[in-house]
Amino acid sequence: MDALLSVAGLRKSFGSVEVLKGIDFSVKAGEKIALIGPSGSGKSTCLRCMNFLETPTAGEILLDGERIGMRNGRMMSDRQLAPQRAEMGMVFQLFNLWPHLTVTENVAIAARKVRGLAYKEARELALDMLAKVHMTHRADASPLELSGGQQQRVAIARALAQKPKLMLFDEPTSALDPELVCEVLNVIEELAGEGRTMLLVTHEIAFARDVADRVMFLDGGVIVEEGPASAVINTPREERTRSFLKQIRH
């Protein structure tokens, strides 16, 4: 079966610093991939290149056979990119909910403005998505009244409302207090069980092993090791992977 997402020769430099030095991988529909690695390894940058929040310096990204960010050899503008980005739901480390809108509006607004749903349909969709993340009870609250874990669950609902082909998670629990991490991970695990395609950057190694089908270990801008989640995490082949995992567990 063809890959849903395929990435080839992905490079990204910030000024003279090359953060990604040629990344290749592909993701089949329904697959869950965890990207792990030390800080500064380029894993977040790699994820952000998928929807061109960072513009790659080189390389090719195909989603469902469609080239992302380039058309007829020319870089697409943010305006042209909008429909492609809508195909990918993204969850950020700092949630990035829109504080001037209620929880429901946060989830519904893109459905209305981007996909042109009517107000009522969009609201129903939003409530369905909030139910998935167990946040229906705060549907009319302001994001500012919520805990970090609740905000992140709403942010996940917002991304789900895009009906995306692919979900991108950028360290979704890194900014949370330890006691709030679990509720967010549980929600992500439930979504994983629905057969969604997910690309997840995380520091939660045990979670990556339990939820992901495959794990990619990034270091120094390259994929050092890649394979079935339990194999990479329990019995890493590469020395760099071993020493990283050792540090994490302590």
Binding site: L53, R79, N96, A155
Partner: protein, 220 residues
């Protein structure tokens, strides 16, 4: 005390229509000046954010110059100076122009500060959700900027309202000029200027209250 208040009872009926008309002029001048300030301020902001170094340089020069020159000098230049090169405005127009040229710099700085106050992640989340940049600005950035700057914007309006008194010196028939004419006529400068002050207060105070009200939730 009754001696001091006496003239208000005696001439109040004559003064009030004069002051009311002057208040209206002051209000018109301020509102027009503020409206144009916002328009010019936004134009200035676009220059500041533009890709062109020339426009950015112009905006920087403009802000620096206007901040360094007193409003009164700008008003005199517009009303007394420009006729020298064949450009003539009536007093009211010159005053509106002068006020807005001056306050546009403040308004653009306010907008800029408001935009800066919105974290980068807000825009990223909007783009990731499939918004175009225009939609992102309209539905995500602008509503938040307005919330941030509404209260300081009103404060700016009140300060423009007070500075509009300088227009009296280029013969705009607003509150201070009317007050001066009345003071000469009635020989009661103390009572009349107090009345003039109260008139400013009557226009400005509701806005000050509004501004504080609006600022309160943001400070929570």
């Amino acid at each position: 005390m009754t001696g001091f208040l006496q003239p208000y009872f005696e001439y109040g009926g004559e003064w009030w229509p004069l002051l009311a008309e002057a208040m209206l002029n002051t209000a018109l001048l301020s509102v027009a000046g503020f409206f144009l300030s916002v328009v010019l301020g936004l134009a200035l902001l676009l220059c500041q954010m533009s890709g062109s170094a020339v426009l950015r340089g112009f905006a920087a020069l403009y802000v620096t110059t206007v901040r360094g020159v007193p409003l009164l000098a700008i008003l005199f230049l517009l009303y007394f100076g420009l006729p020298g090169v064949g450009i003539t405005f009536n007093a009211f127009t010159a005053a509106v122009l002068g006020l807005s040229l001056c306050f546009a710099a403040q308004v653009s700085e306010l907008f800029r500060a408001g935009l800066k106050a919105i974290p980068k992640g807000q825009r990223e989340a909007a783009l990731a959700a499939g918004f175009t940049p225009a939609q992102c600005f309209t539905f995500v950035i602008l509503p938040q900027v307005v919330r941030v700057i509404l209260s300081p914007m009103i404060v700016t309006f009140v300060s423009l309202l007070k500075d509009s008194s300088l227009a009296s010196l280029i013969t705009v028939n607003e509150l201070v000029l009317t007050g001066r004419a009345m003071a000469t006529e009635y020989f009661l400068p103390l009572q009349i200027y107090i009345a003039v002050g109260l008139c400013y207060f009557m226009i400005g105070w509701p806005f000050s209250v509004l501004s504080r009200r609006l600022a309160a939730p943001a400070a929570r």
